[in-house]
Each structure stands twice: as C-alpha cells, then as structure tokens.
Symmetry: C2
Subunit: 474 residues, 2 copies
C-alpha cells in the first residue's frame, strides 16, 4: 500500500502523494508538464459535461482556433503583450525552415480569436457573438505543481462580443454566476466573489471578476475569472459593427475561463489523511462495489454484486472491483485513498440477509439497505449527505480562516494563516505595501459587502472606499 504523508506533517507532500497514489496525474518528462491519468481525466470530463451544458444553454457555441499566435498579434494590445509575452513558449522552426515570425503557443486566445472576429462581424445583426473553446494552453512557469500550476493545462475560454457595455457587463456577471454554481454546488468548494484591483486584473481587461477559494493551507486559489474587456481589444483589432442607428461602432467584449486547476482545488479542499474525498457530481465512480468471499459462496456473492451493479448503473457511476489478486481489505484502503464517496460491501452475511453494506467515505458510517430499490435510495441519500457535509466543512474552514481587521499589524500576522478582510482606501501603494511586507496579494474587492461608515484602510488608516480580501495565493 502506498503511504500518504499526513496533512499535519507536510501538506505539500500530502498533496503530491495523493495526486500520484490515486493516479490522478504523473510528472511528465517535460519541464513543468504533467500527464493527466485516466482517473484524473474522468474528473475533468465530468466538469466539462456539466459546464458545457450550462454554457450551451445560454446560447454559446463551441469552436476551435489555432494553437499558434503570431508575435505581431500578441503585440496589438499593449497591456496584453506585457502580461503574457514573458511566459510564452515560442515556435521558431517549422519543418526544416526557420520561421520569419516566431509563433507563440497560445497562453490565452484573445488575439487570435479577435483577428477573426474583425472579419466576421459587420452589423449589429451579427451580435451578440457567443463562442467558447475547450483547449490546451501553455504558460512557461518557473515553479509548478500538478493541476494547481503547470506549464501546459486544459481549460475552456469563452469570448463574447456585444453591442453595449451593459450587455457585456451582464454577460461577465452571468458567467461568474455559472462558475460559482459549478464550483459551489457541484465541486462543493465555497468561494468568495469579487472584482480584481487595477494591479491584479487581466492584462487588457476593463474589469476582472474572480472566484477565490481557500485551500487547506490557508492560501487562496483563483478558481475562475470573468472579464469585461471593454473596447480595448475591439479597438486594437479593429472590430467594428454598423449599429441600428447607422453608426460604425466598436463592440464590447468579454472573456472568461476555468481550468484543470479546479481539480487541484477539489483535492486540497476535501482531502483528509486517508487521501481524496471526491464530490459525487464529478467523481469518476460514485460508488465502488467490493465483493467479500473466502473459500465458498463466491457464486452467490458475485451474482449479488452483478445485481447491485445493474440496479444502480442506470442512475449512478458504479464500478465493481472484481480483481482477484487483491484482498477486500486492500481494496477498501485503495478506494478510500482514491476518494470514492461510497463503498458497497457484499459479503456472505449480506447475501444471507438479502442486504448490502454501504460505507460513507467521509464519516465511515454504515448502512444496510436491502438489495433492491432501497439500495438506490440509500446510495442517493449517502451521496447527498456526503456532498452537503464536505461543503459545510469547507465553509466552516473558510469562515474560521477569514479574519476582519483594520489594524495593519494584525493584518500582517493573520494573512499568514488565511484570508484577511479589511477596508481599503483604494490606493495601489497600500496594496503594494502588503505584498512587499507579507507576500500576500489583494485577492478581490468584495461585490456584496461595503465598508462601514468611517471605516479606515487596514494598511494606511485613511478613509476606506471598499472592503477587500488579502491572502497569499497559488
């Protein structure tokens, strides 16, 4: 059995142990890259299925744009190139020839997409244009960790075009809501929602909205972002439409994305010292059936396993582990470590009683429904109860690791352990001071909460205009 380092001993090693032992991913023989193994990829496929459905229900369509971005395209939007060029991988040779112009591997696709949009959009009738792409992207990172930060990762990037600022703003916020639903309701990870400061917003955006999760080491993880791009890119790429009033105008744009990094957030949020705990909506298997037999009774037990599987397989993702080279005990540990929400044991006593034994991954609680419709109901109940409990635990953790203060000394101390909520004067100088002094960044300006009257900036003590969250981050 593979050993998992206890979380309390070394959370970084625990994370790596779990990723490797559960066969979610492996280190690739290419700097900073990972291989997403089938068990990890199945989580991504489940995330894709849920999110793709939501995105399409809102009228977006999928498309595919080139991997390569000519250097000159990247340079068209001044802020954008400053943000991304330093971390691009460059193709300089194709076949046997040196290229005249180097091609960046897309770090994000604004520039290559918007060059096409300029061609496709002529009239208000062509708008809104609602396109999404599932793709791989590359950012040349110095320090990497599987899922959380890798040189290549998988994501979806939505890129929409609108006639008015209001419509673009509504789109950016609608998508933020879709992301929040995915992350909170399906992945069971609580997030705080807000807007990025000028210093932290997406290179080239007017406004960046973000969802910030807290991981079990108290650091923040940016789990998804949605940008109102304003007209910056439409000016840079000369996208224009003839409006109803006969005027030629630059449209308003949005872009937004979530990535395989969400899998890192799931691991860090729900795991325990025995390994993973996977939220049922995206777990590759929602239940694993383990037969327990010794010298005799094998046939009856295997036929009960088959019956249980056929009862469940229409509504649930169920796997029967029939491998004969491993003991039941070994399998219990294995599937516990791999985070399957419910284990179903079927042994001689169960068969005799016409029952099966359900064991919940998070609490170890056992249930013994009859092998029939009662099993379906018991599994549904267990999955729902586990799902709610891991979310509640994560919420409690977020709340107990979020401290409000207006005192800079307390801010400096508490930001080492979690989120610090503080009033802010809005000056970049104060934001920068926190970063220099503690390494923490301004994660977001809260949307729903305003500072009290007379609240003062937690850094400089002058009058505050907004409530923000500081934290160290991945």
């Amino acid at each position: 059995m593979k050993e998992i380092t206890p979380r309390g001993l070394d959370i970084t090693r625990w994370y790596t142990d779990v990723v490797l032992s559960a066969e979610l991913a492996d280190y690739a023989p290419v700097k900073g890259c990972m291989v997403i193994r089938p068990y990890g990829f199945a989580i991504w496929e489940n995330i894709q299925r849920i999110l793709d459905g939501e995105i399409k229900a809102l009228g977006h369509q999928n498309a595919y744009f080139p991997l390569f971005i000519p250097e000159s395209f990247l340079k068209k939007e001044a802020e954008h190139v400053k943000g991304f060029a330093p971390e691009c991988a460059w193709v300089t040779r194709g076949g046997q020839e040196e290229l005249e112009e180097p091609l960046a591997i897309r770090p994000t696709s604004e520039t290559i997409m918007y060059a096409m949009y300029a061609k496709w959009i002529q009239s208000y009738r062509d708008l809104p244009l609602l396109i999404n792409q599932w793709a791989n992207v590359v950012r040349w990172e110095k320090t990497t960790r599987p899922f959380l930060r890798t040189t290549e990762f998988l994501w979806q990037e939505g890129h929409t075009v609108h006639t008015t600022e209001e419509e673009a703003e509504e789109e950016a916020l609608t998508i933020l809501g879709i992301y929040r639903k995915l992350i909170e309701e399906n992945l069971r990870i609580p997030v705080i929602v807000g807007r990025k400061s000028e210093a932290e917003r997406f290179a080239g955006a007017l406004r960046t909205y973000t969802l910030e999760a807290i991981l079990s080491d108290g650091k923040a993880l940016q789990a998804g972002t949605s940008h109102n791009l304003g007209q910056g890119f439409s000016r840079a790429f000369n996208i224009q439409f003839l409006d109803k009033d006969g005027m030629l105008k630059h449209p308003w744009q949005t872009s937004w994305g979530v990535s395989t990094r969400l899998i890192g957030a799931i691991i860090m949020t729900h795991g325990d010292d025995s390994g993973l705990i996977l939220p049922p909506d995206v777990s590759p298997y929602q239940a694993v059936i383990v037969p327990i037999f010794f010298d005799h009774g094998k046939e009856e037990i295997l036929s009960a396993v088959e019956k249980a599987r056929s009862i469940l397989s229409e509504e649930f993702r169920v796997h029967a582990d029939l491998r004969e080279q491993y003991t039941p005990g070994w399998k219990f540990n294995e599937w516990e470590m791999r985070g399957v929400p419910v284990r179903i044991e079927i042994g001689p006593k169960d068969v005799k009683a016409g029952k099966v034994t359900l064991v919940r991954r998070d609490t170890g609680e056992k249930f013994q429904p009859s092998l029939g419709d009662a099993l379906k109901i018991a599994l549904q109940d267990s999955l729902r109860a586990l799902s709610d409990r891991v979310y509640q635990n994560a919420r409690n953790f977020l709340h107990s690791h979020t401290v409000f203060t207006e005192e800079y000394s307390e801010l400096q101390q508490k930001v080492r352990e979690g989120f610090v909520k503080t009033p802010w004067c809005g000056q970049e100088k104060c934001e920068g001071k926190v970063k220099t002094d503690t390494g923490a960044t301004l994660r977001c300006i809260l949307l729903d909460e305003k500072p009290e009257k007379r609240a003062v900036c937690g850094v400089c003590g002058s009058s505050a205009t907004s409530l923000v969250v500081f934290a160290r981050a991945y």
Copy 2:
C-alpha cells in the same frame, strides 16, 4: 446570397466555397491553419460523442499527455523519427530562455506516451492498458486545404498495450471495425478496408490497417488507420512486464486515430451544386423550421413553430430560424447550402390544415404530416431515407469509379479517374513505378479479396500474391 462554384466547373473551388459559405471553417492568419467555426465544430462534437461512446464501451479510458515532445524522445525509435521529424514544429524558446533541448509539438504521441507507459507497466496485471486521447496535433505541411490537410488538426489517438501479439492484432482489427462502423453507418461514407504496404505503413509500425474513401474527384482519402505496432516501441522505450510465467517480456502495442479530416470527407462525399448535404447522425441540426408569414397570421404561425419544435426537440436536433431580417426564400437557400437534412416549412396554409411541410434536402421531396406525433414519424422516416440514399449514391460512385485491370496501360489511364484494383507481385519496385509514372500510391492490400489463381501483377506481369488498390490521394 453567396455563390457556390458548380462542382463540374471546379471541384476544388466548390469545396472551398462550401467550407467558407456554410461557415464550417475559415482560413486562419497562421500558415496552413484553419479556424473551425461553430457549425463545423458541432459536426466534430457529434463525431466525438459517437466514437467516444464506442471506444469507452470497449474498456478504453481517456487521458491527456503533454503537447511537447523532447527531441531525444522522438529519436528513440529510428523509423518513427525519420517519418515525423521533417514535419515537426519546434519550440526553441520558453519565457525568456533558449531551451537546451528543442521541444517538438506532438505530431502524434507514441513517444511521449510510451515513456510514461514504461514507468506504469510492471506486471501482466497492468495489462491490457487501454488509453485514448482527444487532442490537437501539428504537422508542418506545405500544401493545405481546410479539414483535408491542415498544419494543426484535431483527432483522437488510441494507444494500447497487450501481453501477446494475438491480442494486439485483435485490438487493431476491432478498432478498424469501430472506425468502419462510424464512417459507413454514421457518416454514410463507403470505404475499402485493407492493409498498407511496407512503403506506406506508419513509421514504426509492424502492420498498418486503413480505411480508404473515394472523394468525388476520384482521389482516395485515408479516413482512419489502426496500427499493430509490434514490439518496436516497447523495445525502444524499454517497456517490460513480468509475465505469469515469471519472465520479463516486451509487450505488444497498437495505436490508432481518426481526425477532423473526416469532416472533409463528409463534405466531398455528399455535397451537390447547392452545397452541403449532412448525414443526419452528425448534422448540427437534423431539421430547421422556417416560418412563412406575411402581413397577418404571424402569431398562429409562430405558435405552430413552437409546437413543432417542442414535439421534436426531445428526439431530434431541431432549430427554428426566427430571424426577421431574412425572407423565407433566403432561409430555404441558406439551410439548403448548409446541408440540413430536412426543412420544415410552416405557413398560413399549413396552419389552417393543422399540418406542416417537410422538404428533404437530397431529393426535394415534400411531405405534409399533421402537427403531432405524425410529424415525429415523418421526420424519422425522412432522415432515415436520406441517410440510406446518400450512402447508396456514394456506394454507386465508389463502384463505378473502381476498375479492375491487369494491364499496366489501363492502370495508368484509369488511375486518373478513380480506384484501380489490380493483382500485385508484392515488389516495392512495382509500387514505386506506379507512383513515378502516375503520382498514384498503393492505397491498400485488400483483406477480404485474394487474386485469382494465375493472376499477374498489373505492373510487371509476374505472378501476383495479393490484390491491391492504387489511387491518387489527398
């Protein structure tokens, strides 16, 4: 309305006109690359859904491996590097640094995958290993055409590992069957099935199986391939397993793939002078509803459209084209050009009679079922009839453009117009002569048909050992 060049006038221009006008794809501002637009991408999503289901039903799991392949990996299998290195795109700079070792953008993933397989496989218990990947790949091509040959394209690549040669051979042939089913039954494209000659097989493979379609200009298109890789890669990458008999052995491998090129085959096989005809199983929309109203009656007609849509939308992919800036006639032409299998017209007379008018894309035949369950049945029937008819047409074309000969002069002449079936002596020199003299290649050695006794090679006249097909190819 966009003009489509008649096929008889210039099939190459017809193809490009259709791809651009139907908004399947557009030329990207990067050499040899295309943008797959939503309408084209939806066809790919439908192909993916069907094929992914079949592949998973056979026990394969999806995974994701890095885009980058170190040059040294590519060099490990001697034939493989010779085949692929000349057409690789190379990353030589990452972030601000020159790389010590150039990284190829994957042209195919054997080498990066098998480096990992060597790590994962220890015992016969780890086999068979059945992995598939949906990914983008890059081959630096000189002449390109949207879908049929592009620098970057999308595909799936399966890579399996087995304990015995028999099992690997069975896998390669099983997948060939899955591909054939997809291409013939879903895409309605007839293919000939065979094995590649030594000169034409995949670089590094023991045996390559292929499916060859004939396009409407008489050229062959390799629509899918499946390779028994033998032990070449497992030796080169030092993949070994401890067998049941206690011996350390090199396993047998397969790899196989189909790509977005299938969309090119659909266009070329089924199109006519009015544009596309899409096979119902993969058409983005199986039916489009067009309301026809003038000064009054709009409400009743729109409510009939809504009723038709709700009756059909559970079982079919249906789109109601409610745009007010276009006339019904314009919409008829538009959806005809875009290849939607059935158009549903709903006008004042239809509403009065409680009926709708179905129009088949391929024959123009009209049907007038009642607006109720009869509509479902009529649409189902029309889709099935269209599906069968386009397949039958394509089969007739394949048969009428396949000529058998043992005479070299006839071979040389007929190979300009289509497939030439001929006995072959098995010598590479004869295969090469055809290529030099006519530009045609040996597409495949037929699996199910053998030459008659005393048959002679269509090139050199000596005794023949197999029956083969020559054709010019994409």
